[in-house]
């Protein structure tokens, strides 16, 4: 990379290092792997920087981080998404089951566990939306799926999260 290009790259990408690490950390669920993935992602991003057309550097970088994370997951043979069957996990939307209990347990550990239990495809949209604050459109770009799929995954992710947090709070009370 030319110094001039390097400067452009740094200005466009370095501010999003936290976002990159956060996504890698949630996708790999492994702190060391997340560091390796981010480093590899920055390397790839630098190589393919010519294909970046300006605009939102964060969404572009997150796309690279996501692909690098999935490559790592595939290597680990722990690719949760591979075993994930959309039909099996689709238990209707929230509106068909209005008797949801309110979430009572929202301490850091329970929420983290509930998030980690989500299938990768649902976890990533929740992380991008709730922690990174991306719009539906940006999530669709990062995850390379249509808008409608983003919306249904968000909905299913939230539903499962809600169920998980309600269940763990009931268990908590039973003890």
């Amino acid at each position: 990379m030319e110094p001039h290009e390097q400067g452009l790259f740094d200005r466009a990408m370095l501010p999003h290092l936290d976002a990159a690490y956060n996504l890698a950390r949630w996708l790999t669920r492994d702190e060391h792997a997340a560091e390796d993935v981010v480093q590899e992602a920055f390397y790839r991003a630098a190589r393919y920087f010519y294909s970046f057309r300006g605009g939102d550097g964060r969404a572009w970088l997150l796309g690279v981080v996501r692909r690098t994370s999935f490559d790592w997951l595939a290597k680990q043979k722990a690719h949760a998404a591979a075993a994930f069957n959309e039909d099996l996990h689709d238990r209707g939307d929230e509106s068909s089951n209005p008797e949801f209990l309110a979430i009572r347990k929202c301490d850091q550990a329970s929420v983290r566990e509930a998030l980690n239990l989500l299938p990768t495809q649902l976890r990533e949209v929740i992380v991008l939306r709730e922690l990174e604050g991306l719009s539906y459109r940006e999530i669709a770009d990062v995850t390379e799926v249509p808008l409608g799929t983003v919306m249904s995954r968000l909905s299913r992710g939230r539903e499962q999260l809600q169920r998980q947090l309600t269940v763990s709070s009931q268990e908590g009370e039973a003890v």
Binding site: L17, Y21, D56, A59, I103, V111, L115, I126
Partner: protein, 253 residues
């Protein structure tokens, strides 16, 4: 709005993804309906459970260093005899730089009109998808869509049938751009929607295709036979180029 409609949009509402009109309609409904308001509250409490329990992982300092220092230092160190040359070079660079800056400012002024137009095109495209108001006249038949614009616009847009090429006409609607009503044609490619905005150009110049990208959407604009065209989609660039090319070929009658 009925409860069923509200519940279908509840998530988009809570995520701030609805247009203003829908958003206000939702607010009104939630004020008066306990059942829907309760569901909205549940979504909110789930969000605050996730966001308030500090689930964000910040990059460790060691990683930041690793990434910043994993670069070759490219600038050579200059020695003293070179200083004079460096000063002269700096002077020349300053002249080049300032004239470049002047040029940039000039082009910025002419670009800003295009930029504003591009932003307006993106906004119209997004709105057409969000509020489910993609088409005023729903038809894949060009002989239905083309006459529909008659009497609504002071021009008659070309509406070619491109279904054989894989771009199905979904319909047309009236939209508003550059302070005037324009024709919007909606074409579908698989799950992707292409909005094509058409209005009479200021002059008869033919303008070659321009490529732009905004907020993840790709845009193509061109001027042909006295008409200005702006196409926008989340489709990949290759297919959008193909669409623009085929449209140009087929809109010559």
């Amino acid at each position: 709005m009925t409860c069923l409609e509200v519940q279908a949009l509840l998530q988009s509402y809570s995520d701030g993804e609805l247009d203003l009109v829908r958003h206000v309609e939702m607010e009104e409904h939630l004020k008066g309906c306990d059942k829907c308001a309760e569901q909205e509250k549940r979504l909110q409490s789930l969000r605050s459970a996730v966001t308030s329990s500090s689930q964000y992982y910040h990059a460790p300092t060691s990683l930041r260093r690793r990434i910043q220092f994993a670069r070759p230092r490219t600038l050579p160190i200059r020695r003293r005899p070179l200083l004079r040359w460096a000063a002269m070079a700096a002077g020349v660079l300053f002249l080049i730089g300032s004239s470049a800056l002047f040029g940039m400012l000039l082009s910025r002024i002419s670009n800003s009109t295009e930029d504003r137009l591009a932003e307006a095109v993106v906004a119209n495209h997004v709105r057409s998808l969000q509020v489910g108001h993609l088409t005023d006249v729903v038809s894949s038949d060009r002989h239905t869509v083309k006459p529909w614009f008659k009497g609504k616009l002071d021009f008659s847009p070309q509406v070619p049938d491109l279904s054989a090429q894989g771009y199905t006409l979904a319909g047309g609607r009236l939209d508003y751009l550059t302070d005037r009503p324009v024709a919007a044609l909606a074409y579908q490619r698989r799950l992707h929607t292409i909005n094509l905005f058409v209005w009479p150009a200021f002059n008869d110049e033919e303008k070659a295709m321009r490529n732009l990208s905004r907020q993840g959407y790709h845009l193509r604009s061109w001027q042909q036979a006295g008409m200005t065209y702006w196409a926008i989609s989340d489709l990949n660039e290759k297919e959008l180029d193909e669409f623009a090319r085929i449209f140009q070929e087929h809109s010559v009658e």
